[in-house]
Amino acid sequence: MATRARRPHDDVNTDARRARWRSAARWEVGLVVVLIGVLVFGAAESPTFVDSSTFFYLGINVGYLAIMALPMTLIVMTGEIDLSVASILGLSGSVLGLLWHHGWSIVPAVVVALLVGALGGALNGILVAKAGLPSIAVTIGTLTLFRGLAEILLGSLTVPATGDRQFPAALTNIGVAPIPGTQLSYTTVIFLVLAVVCGVVLHATPLGRAMHAIGLQPEAAQFSGIRVRRIKFWLYVVSGVVCAFAGILLTLQNSSVSYGAGTGLELNVVAIVLFGGVSIFGGRGTVVGVVLSVAIFGALQMALTQLNVQPEIQNVITGALLLISVVVPNGGEAIGRLRERIKRK
C-alpha cells in the first residue's frame, strides 16, 4: 500500500468551513430569530403572555401534536410520509375509551391501545416497506381506514358515557395541573424527552446515519449494507406506537374521548416538520429544527389566542410560514434561472 505519511488536509480552508457551517445552521438560526420575534410580539401585545401558566397551556395545546411530529420527522427523513398519524391517535384513543367503557381497568386498556397503534403502524410498514407501495397513497388509505375503525368501535359514543366511571383522576390531572414544582405540563416533558431520544438516534447513531443515507440515496444505502426496508418498516411501527401514546395522553388530558379525536391534524404535523427544515425529499433536517418549529407554532397560537385573533387567521399564518419555509431557499435559485433566461433572450 501507499503508506507515506501525509496529511492532505493540513491546509484547512477556513472560508469553506465557515460557508458550510452557515448553510447547515442557517435554517435553525432563522427559526430561533422567528421564535424570539414571536415571544417579543406576544409579550408586547398581551400582558398575560409572559404569565407562567402560558407555558403550561402551550404544552396542553400542542404537546400531543408535537409528540407525533417526532416519528414523522424520522419518516420524512427517509423520504416517506405518514398521513395516518392523527387517525392512529383517534383509533387508539377510541380503543382505550371502548375498553374503559366495558369496565377494563386502565393499565391493560392502555397496553391494548398501544398495541393497536403498533399494529396500525405495522400495516403501514408492510404496505410501504415490504410491498413497496407509495407511502402517500398508502397512508391516505390507512388514514381513512383507521378513522373508520375508530368510528365503528365508538360510534357516537363519548367515553366516559353517562353511568361510566370517570378516568382515574391521577391520570387526567395531566390536563389541569403542571408537574409539581414546575410550570411544565407532562406532555411538554414527555415531548422533550422523546425529542432528545430522537435527536440522539437521528444525529449520533449508526441507525440515524442510515436514515440520512436512505433519504438521500436509497440505492447507495442498500449497496452499503443498510437494510432499507427493515428500517422503514420499524419506523412506521414506532410512529404507530408513539401516535397511540399521543392518543392516550390526549384522552386523559381531556378526560374523555370520541372517535373524531385529532381529526385533520396530520397536515398540521406535516407542516410543523417541514417548517422545521426537514426536506420533503428526505435526507436533510434536524430534530432541533423541528423542536423550534413546534415552539414557534405553539407560541404563535398562544399569542394569537390571547389577542382574540380568529383561529382562521392563525391558519393563514401557519400556511404563510410553511410557504416561506420552502420559497426562501428556492427563491434565489429561481431568480438566477430567470436572469439566465432573460440574458439568453
Binding site: L83, L127, A131, G132, L133, P134, I136, A137, V138, I140, G141, T142, L143, T144, L145, F146, R147, G148, L149, E151, I152, G155, Y259, T263, G264, L267, V270, A271, L274, I280, F281, Q310, P311, E312, I313, Q314, N315, V316, I317, T318, G319, A320, L322, L323, V326, V327, N330, G331, E333, A334, L338
Partner: protein
C-alpha cells in the same frame, strides 16, 4: 423476433387498464344491485338523485386533480379552494346582490387565481407541489375566515334561481350531475385528443425524456394547476347552489377524499397514467358505497373504514398488476435469449 413474444403480455396489460373503468362500473352496479335487494327504496328517484348530487362535487374536483397527479404533482388545496369560492360567491350574493351567472363566473375566477398561484410557485420556484398546496390549504382557510368574519352564508341570502341549479332535475337527473357529466366528458375527450394533454402524460411518465423531447413542462404543469383550481372554483359555486349555505367547514377534508377517489379510479399516484373518467367513476363508487351503507341500515360508521380499505385494495391491485407485467416481460426476454 421478439415482437411476438412481447406483444401478448402487453396486450393483456392494456386491456386490463382499459378494463379499469369497466371494473369500477361493474363494482358500482354490483353495490347498487345488492343494496337494492336489501332495500328497494335505494333505487327510488330521490335516492338516486341524492347519490348523483353527492358524488358530483367530488367527481368534479377529481377531474382537475387527475390532470395534476398525471404530471407527478398533487393539489391538496382543492377542498379549501372549493370552500373559498363558495364563501366569496355567497358573500357577493349577500352584500352585493350580484346576478346569478356572475356568481358562477366569480367562483370560477377565484378558483383559477388559486390554481395560478399554486402553478406559479410549483413551476417557477420549483417547490414540491405537496408542500405548496398544503400551505395554500391553510392560507385559503384563513382567508375564508377573514372574508366571512364569523358569519355564515344562509339560504336567505342566495337567489332562488341560483339554488335551483342545486335541486332542479332534467329528465330526473339533477342539473348538478349533468354539469359535472359534461365537464367529465369534455375533459375525458380532451385528455385523449390534444397534443398538450398528451404532454401531461409524457411529463409524468418520464420527465427526463419529456425534456429531451422539448416538451414545455413548466407551462403544461402550470396549466394543469389552473384547470384544477378553476374546477374547484366551479365546484365551490355548485356547492353553494346545492347546500344554499356555507360555513367554515365547507369543503373541509375534501382534498384527501379527492385523492382517494382519483387513486381508486386508477390514476397512478406517481404520475403518467390514468383517466379522468376513471377518477370520476372512483368518486362515484366511493359515494355509492357511502349511500349503500346508509340504505342497507349498516351503520354509517362503516363508511370510512370501507372507503379506506377500498383505497388500499386499489393501490395493492395496481402494484400486483405491474408486477405481473414485469414478470411477463422477464420471461419474454428469456425466450428471446434462447432464440
Amino acid at each position: 423476433m421478439t415482437t411476438d413474444t412481447a406483444v401478448r403480455p402487453v396486450h393483456r396489460f392494456e386491456s386490463l387498464l382499459r378494463a379499469r373503468e369497466l371494473g369500477i362500473a361493474i363494482v358500482i352496479v354490483l353495490v347498487v344491485a345488492i343494496t337494492a335487494v336489501r332495500n328497494a327504496n335505494f333505487l327510488a328517484a330521490q335516492s338516486v338523485q341524492q347519490l348523483l348530487s353527492g358524488a358530483a362535487l367530488v367527481a368534479l374536483l377529481s377531474v382537475g386533480e387527475t390532470m395534476v397527479i398525471i404530471t407527478r404533482n398533487v393539489d391538496l388545496s382543492v377542498g379549501s379552494t372549493l370552500g373559498l369560492s363558495a364563501y366569496v360567491v355567497g358573500d357577493l350574493f349577500k352584500y352585493q346582490h350580484i346576478p346569478v351567472l356572475a356568481g358562477f363566473a366569480v367562483g370560477i375566477v377565484v378558483g383559477a387565481v388559486v390554481g395560478a398561484v399554486n402553478g406559479l410557485v410549483t413551476t417557477v420556484l420549483r417547490v414540491p407541489s405537496l408542500v405548496v398546496t398544503l400551505a395554500m390549504l391553510y392560507v385559503i382557510r384563513g382567508v375564508d375566515g377573514v372574508i366571512v368574519n364569523g358569519h355564515t352564508i344562509d339560504p336567505s341570502a342566495i337567489p332562488r334561481a341560483f339554488t335551483e341549479v342545486g335541486y332542479r332535475t332534467l329528465f330526473g337527473v339533477p342539473w348538478l350531475a349533468i354539469i359535472v357529466l359534461v365537464v367529465v366528458a369534455v375533459a375525458g375527450y380532451a385528455m385523449r385528443s390534444f397534443r398538450a394533454s398528451r404532454d401531461l402524460y409524457a411529463i409524468g411518465s418520464n420527465p427526463e425524456a419529456a425534456a429531451l423531447a422539448g416538451i414545455p413542462a413548466g407551462r403544461r404543469v402550470f396549466t394543469a394547476f389552473v384547470i384544477s383550481g378553476t374546477l374547484a372554483g366551479l365546484a365551490g359555486a355548485l356547492f353553494l347552489a346545492l347546500h344554499a349555505q356555507v360555513d367554515n367547514s365547507g369543503g373541509l377534508g375534501y382534498e384527501l377524499t379527492v385523492v382517494a377517489a382519483v387513486v381508486v379510479g386508477g390514476v397512478a399516484i406517481f404520475g403518467g397514467s390514468g383517466t379522468v373518467v376513471g377518477a370520476a367513476l372512483g368518486a362515484l363508487l366511493l359515494n355509492t358505497i357511502n349511500q349503500a351503507l346508509v340504505a342497507s341500515k349498516v351503520s354509517s360508521f362503516w363508511n370510512m373504514a370501507v372507503a379506506g380499505g377500498l383505497l388500499l385494495a386499489a393501490i395493492a391491485f395496481d402494484r400486483w398488476l405491474s408486477l405481473r407485467v414485469a414478470r411477463g416481460l422477464k420471461s419474454a426476454r428469456g425466450v428471446h435469449r434462447d432464440v
